[in-house]
């Protein structure tokens, strides 16, 4: 009985174990598709016990949020850039024909 218990713990550990390298790829992949159930479970397990990977996940989420906001029509990101006067003139001319 005891042996069975330790065997199942071993199995659980082996099954749940992902390296941080694997996890970083999965954290990113999860942003692009739904992960299969067991992979999602293993990822979740790792993230609850590994602060470094949790930080990595927050970093990628921050990046994602910033990009979404950068994509908005009146994003201030390139506020200091304008069409050059000749370019503007060229477009105005093109619209007259």
């Amino acid at each position: 009985m005891k042996k069975l218990f330790s065997l199942s713990i071993m199995f659980l550990e082996k099954f749940m174990k992902l390296s941080c390298r694997d996890v970083s790829a999965l954290v990113s992949e999860q942003m692009d598709r739904d992960l299969p159930f067991f992979r999602r479970l293993r990822l979740k397990f790792h993230l609850t016990i590994c602060g470094a990977c949790k930080n990595y996940q927050t970093q990628l989420e921050t990046l994602k949020r910033m990009c979404a906001s950068m994509g908005e029509e009146d994003s201030a990101v390139k506020q200091d850039i304008s069409l050059s006067p000749p370019a503007k003139e060229k477009i105005k001319q093109a619209l007259k024909h």
Partner: protein, 189 residues
């Protein structure tokens, strides 16, 4: 516009810069961006009858602009092979792990939450600079996914990319941007 005559000069003055900035973030090359803005204006003028005031003039123009940007991506894909990874496309975090796959240098908390970061204009400018450091291929795919908000399926279909390849490219692009943000911003704070 409704039955009024369009003053195209005023159009360009009012929306030109906004549209140019929007395009430049997505295509990087200023000449190409100018060209795209011009094409969008011309095509808006030609189809002005289709504008029925259901949306604002601005969002109507931006709708046309978005299509023109996607057209540009479609043309440009002929020049860049998207479905292959070369040596220079390696994972920038390759040396971040030891032999067992554990972190050599633990990722730190950036000390900001995602919403806060997105409000920080200065930080966003740094990110825009980092984006320009990506290779053409990575930049294009990353922009479509994270800035344009296209789905993975749409991108794979449009560019004939295997989805596994797409995930690898996006992961590497994210890592490169993360490192760039740390070097240029978070490690300095």
């Amino acid at each position: 516009m409704n039955s009024q005559k369009i003053d195209s000069d005023q159009w360009v003055d009012q929306y030109g810069d906004m549209m140019f900035r929007y395009t430049l973030l997505r295509v990087r090359d200023a000449d190409a961006a100018e060209e795209i803005v011009q094409t969008a204006f011309v095509s808006a003028l030609q189809s002005k009858d289709s504008f029925q005031g259901r949306s604002t003039e601005k969002s109507w123009l931006f709708g046309i602009l978005k299509h023109k940007i996607l057209d540009h991506y479609r043309d440009a894909k002929k020049n860049v092979r998207l479905d292959s990874l070369s040596d220079e496309d390696g994972d920038p975090l390759e040396y971040a792990y030891n032999k067992l796959g554990a972190w050599n240098k633990m990722p730190k908390h950036w000390g900001t939450d995602p919403a806060q970061a997105a409000e920080n204009t200065e930080l966003m400018r740094v990110l825009a600079g980092c984006l320009d450091g990506l290779s053409d291929k990575f930049r294009r795919i990353f922009v479509l996914k994270e800035i344009e908000g296209l789905s993975s399926e749409e991108i794979c279909k449009e560019f004939d990319i295997q989805s596994t390849n797409l995930w690898v490219i996006l992961h590497r692009a994210r890592n490169q941007l993360k490192l760039c943000l740390e070097t240029k911003w978070f490690d300095k704070k």
